[in-house]
Amino acid sequence: MSIENLNNENVNSELQRFLEFSLGEEDYALPLLSVREVISVPETTPIPKAPSHFLGIMNLRGQVISVVDLRTKLKIKPKENNHEESVIIVDLNGMNLGIVVDSINKVLAFTTDEVNDVPEIESQVNAEYINGVYRKEDALTVLLDVAKVLDLKDLKAVGGLKSAA
């Protein structure tokens, strides 16, 4: 919907585009350039002994891709009776990953000036994976750093199963 509007806008060099999606009732966004495609939730094959947010592996036209559920990872309660669940295939420096989200909302475009830093709050979760917060009118969108959400520690955790197995 807003994609057309965006295309008509005068793109200044600092204008960045993000794909906004929902996890539960919260809005998050990813850099649009890291999004390869959006698909409906596929059938997955579970990965033995992987952390619980690893839903499994899927077949994307012959390519085998892992699918993760960010809601489990971020401890967000999924929407109920949701028919809009989708999977965003992201490309993180050549590594392809599917991310399950509750819904895809829109494409956001804003300049870096409009991004606020993460408020300094005591929090249980490590806020490192938040690149910033975009505020428009009264809604807030969290700009996610997916690589950090599933940070290296996780990658190792999975690889580290070597010793466990």
């Binding site: 059938e43 094959t45 579970p46 990965i47 033995p48 002994k49 992987a50 690893f54 592996i57 899927m58 077949n59 012959g62 390519q63 085998v64 891709i65 892992s66 590594m95 392809n96 990953l97 599933l150 996780d154 990658l155 999975v158 690889g159 199963l161 070597k162 010793s163 197995a165």
Partner: protein
């Protein structure tokens, strides 16, 4: 620079690297056979060819340098100078220099060089005699062939060619007149010699290759691909010249491979005459190709182009096979029609055949890689003042291209080590009552689904006492611990381990063998060393033939499917109550024909839910492993099929026991389990207790 000119230059650079490789081999051969006129002739042709072609395409400096080199070769040829080690060293140096020039030119086509130092060296060897130079020039002109004759011969070739698929070649052939126009200023005088050479080559080549072509085309037709499809798939019509090189790269007489090469062959043969006309002096190149056509293989650059196409083909074929499997598994359920059923079954056979062919395209012979070792051995032995003879066995053994690319470095290390550490000094050999010339043998062969490369030397062997002393010194082992000799020797693969007293130029930094081991294990291969004091050592490298496809057994664990490489499965059976024994504190054991095997439950290992029921309701898969045999319980064996291995993403790669994944007939991905790896930890940990327990049971 005009595109046309640039293209010519680039073509030349591609070709010349091949010539250089050929000449390097020839120089090395010359060292063994000092008086071989044939070799000298060949070398002279190569050098001359290089000079002529480089001048024709406008690389003056290369030509100038080659000219000097040619003077030297001419002296050798006329007998004015004797071939000796020193001369060969100079020649090899020249070869390296040209290789360097060519490689630099490939990056920067306008590059310039400083040849003075090395030219001075050559001149000092030749000692400034000008007679030689004059002769060179006189001889040079003999090689030139009149256009008409070249055309005639080429035309003859096509007439002879019974293969119908000659169309694209014929089309390309029409380019010849253009090429002729381009360079006709270069034609001079007569060219009897060249004419003869071309005629001979062309006819021989054509006969030889047409044979392959025929059988190959037949087989492709059998598979039902139309000629156009084949061309299209291989992109022949778009890039005839490059493909000519690729054609040769893949060639190798093997039928399957030849099938795809088929349509490139005419082009190859055709491309050569074009070259001859374009650069008159390249006429002598053909004989070289005739003598050693497989050498073209080592042309890395052009094979890389081919590989991407081959990979694309492999991917598409992979998809085709998956779809076919779906169809096959469904056919009795969904299709009543007998003919349709039969067709699907036949389609299955065909797809499998196509898949085999497309997989085999990735296979290349080891030859080029092994031959590089000639040079390594020569240089190493010269530096160390040892006399070494290298024997190559099984050069034509084929292996997956990606495996080959990673093989070269480890091999160089092992071969160098064999010459440096393995073989004794000449004095040492005489004292030991051996022939003063040391032998290193590289033997390549297939063993099951593996390629084995064995590097043997007849040196002094590895002294496990020295290894032990060194290992204690490095703090790797406890001085009081007893370690059997054959295990002790494996410490040479330990990082930072080197027993050589002095660090030589060649080796001794201790960073060799552990890198070798890591590299080889990175390719899912293994390396073993065996040694006998006073007799020599054997390094045995085992590599998987291909990393892309395996025969798999599909098993069921609860509601999930997993794939086990069939090569790991020794047998499978349904255990009876009598066979299963429970040992408290250890677990279950399977008594199979007197052999007691530890039993693992795959559901527990992977934390998956299995069907309810006792062990005797499951299926036991027996795995034979180098260290230990064991049984793995699974819910069911579904079927066996060939699976295309898909790599796992970085996020789940490197998990122990997971080789990769594959897409099964239902379109869903499944994991391929490496049971040996999956249970290697458990075995080591439990090995002693297992043994004790088994001793108790038995």
């Amino acid at each position: 620079m005009e595109d046309f000119e640039r293209e010519l230059k680039e073509d030349f650079l591609e070709e010349s690297l091949q010539l250089l490789e050929d000449s390097e081999q020839a120089f090395l051969a010359l060292e063994d056979d000092n008086d071989s006129t044939d070799l000298l002739d060949q070398i002279f042709r190569l050098a001359h060819n290089l000079k002529g072609t480089s001048r024709a395409v406008g690389f003056g400096e290369v030509a100038e340098f080659t000219h000097e080199m040619e003077n030297l070769i001419l002296k050798l040829k006329t007998g004015e100078m004797q071939v000796n080690d020193f001369v060969v060293t100079i020649l090899l140096e020249c070869n390296d220099h040209i290789t360097h020039m060519i490689n630099t030119l490939r990056d920067d086509i306008e590059a310039t060089f400083d040849n003075d130092a090395i030219i001075a060296k050559i001149i000092s060897v030749v000692s400034g005699d000008t007679v030689g130079e004059a002769e060179v020039q006189a001889e040079a002109q003999v090689e030139e062939a009149p256009v008409a004759e070249v055309e005639e011969v080429a035309a003859e070739y096509f007439e002879e060619d019974p293969v119908e698929v000659v169309t694209p070649a014929a089309e390309n052939f029409e380019e010849v007149p253009d090429a002729v126009m381009f360079d006709d200023s270069d034609f001079e005088e007569d060219g009897e010699a060249a004419e003869e050479v071309i005629a001979e080559t062309v006819s021989e080549e054509s006969n030889e290759e047409v044979e392959i072509s025929n059988s190959a085309i037949e087989s492709l037709r059998e598979i039902g691909l139309s000629d156009e499809e084949i061309f299209k798939q291989l992109g022949i019509e778009t890039a005839p010249k490059n493909d000519a090189d690729e054609g040769l790269t893949i060639k190798k007489g093997e039928d399957i491979v030849a099938q795809t090469v088929v349509e490139t062959e005419p082009v190859v043969a055709e491309a050569a005459p074009v070259n001859n006309v374009t650069d008159i002096k390249s006429a002598p190149k053909l004989p070289v190709q005739k003598e050693k056509p497989p050498k073209k293989k080592s042309e890395d650059e052009s094979i890389r182009v081919a590989l991407s196409r081959v990979e694309k083909l492999n991917n598409v074929v992979g998809e085709l096979v998956i779809l076919q499997t779906v169809l096959d598994q469904r056919r009795f359920v969904a299709i009543q029609d007998g003919l349709a059923n039969k067709s699907i079954a036949q389609l299955g056979k065909l797809s499998k055949e196509i898949q085999e062919i497309s997989m085999s395209l990735r296979m290349v012979p080891l030859k080029a890689t092994l031959q590089k070792m000639n040079r390594i051995v020569r240089d190493t032995s010269k530096t160390l003042n040892k006399q070494v003879k290298l024997h190559l066995v099984g050069e034509d053994t084929e292996i997956d291209k990606t495996v080959l690319e990673n093989l070269s470095d480890p091999l160089v290390h092992i071969v160098r080590n064999a010459v440096d550490h393995g073989l004794e000094s000449t004095d040492g050999r005489i004292k030991a009552g051996k022939n003063e010339v040391g032998n290193v043998e590289i033997r390549a062969f297939h063993e099951g689904n593996n390629l084995v490369i064995q590097i043997n030397d007849d040196g002094g062997g590895i002294d496990h006492n020295i290894i032990r002393a060194k290992a204690i010194e490095c703090g790797l082992i406890n001085p009081n611990k007893e370690i059997p000799p054959h295990e002790m020797i494996q410490y040479i693969f330990h990082p930072g381990f080197s027993t050589k007293e002095e660090v030589t130029e060649v080796s001794g930094r201790g960073v060799g063998m552990d890198v070798v081991k890591t590299n080889i294990e990175g390719m899912s291969g293994t390396i073993e060393v065996k040694t006998e004091m006073g007799k020599g050592s054997v390094f045995k490298v085992c590599l998987p033939l291909t990393m892309a496809i395996i025969d798999g057994m599909v098993i069921r664990v609860g509601g999930e499917k997993y794939i086990i490489p069939l090569s790991q499965v020794h047998e499978s059976l349904k255990p009876t109550k009598e066979m299963m024994n429970k040992i408290t504190g250890f677990g279950e054991c399977l008594n199979l024909r007197g052999e007691v095997l530890p039993v693992f439950n795959i559901g527990q290992t992977l934390s998956r839910k299995m069907d309810d029921g006792e062990s005797i309701d499951k299926i036991a898969i027996i795995i034979h492993n180098a260290n230990f045999n064991f049984a793995v319980l699974v819910d069911d064996i579904l079927h066996q099929q060939q699976v295309v291995i898909k790599k796992l993403g970085d996020e789940i790669r490197g998990r122990k026991g997971f080789m990769g994944s594959s897409i099964l007939g239902d379109g869903k991905p499944s994991f391929i389990l490496d049971l040996n790896e999956l249970y290697s930890g458990s075995l080591k940990k439990n090995q002693n207790s297992i043994k004790e327990n088994i001793a108790r049971v038995a």
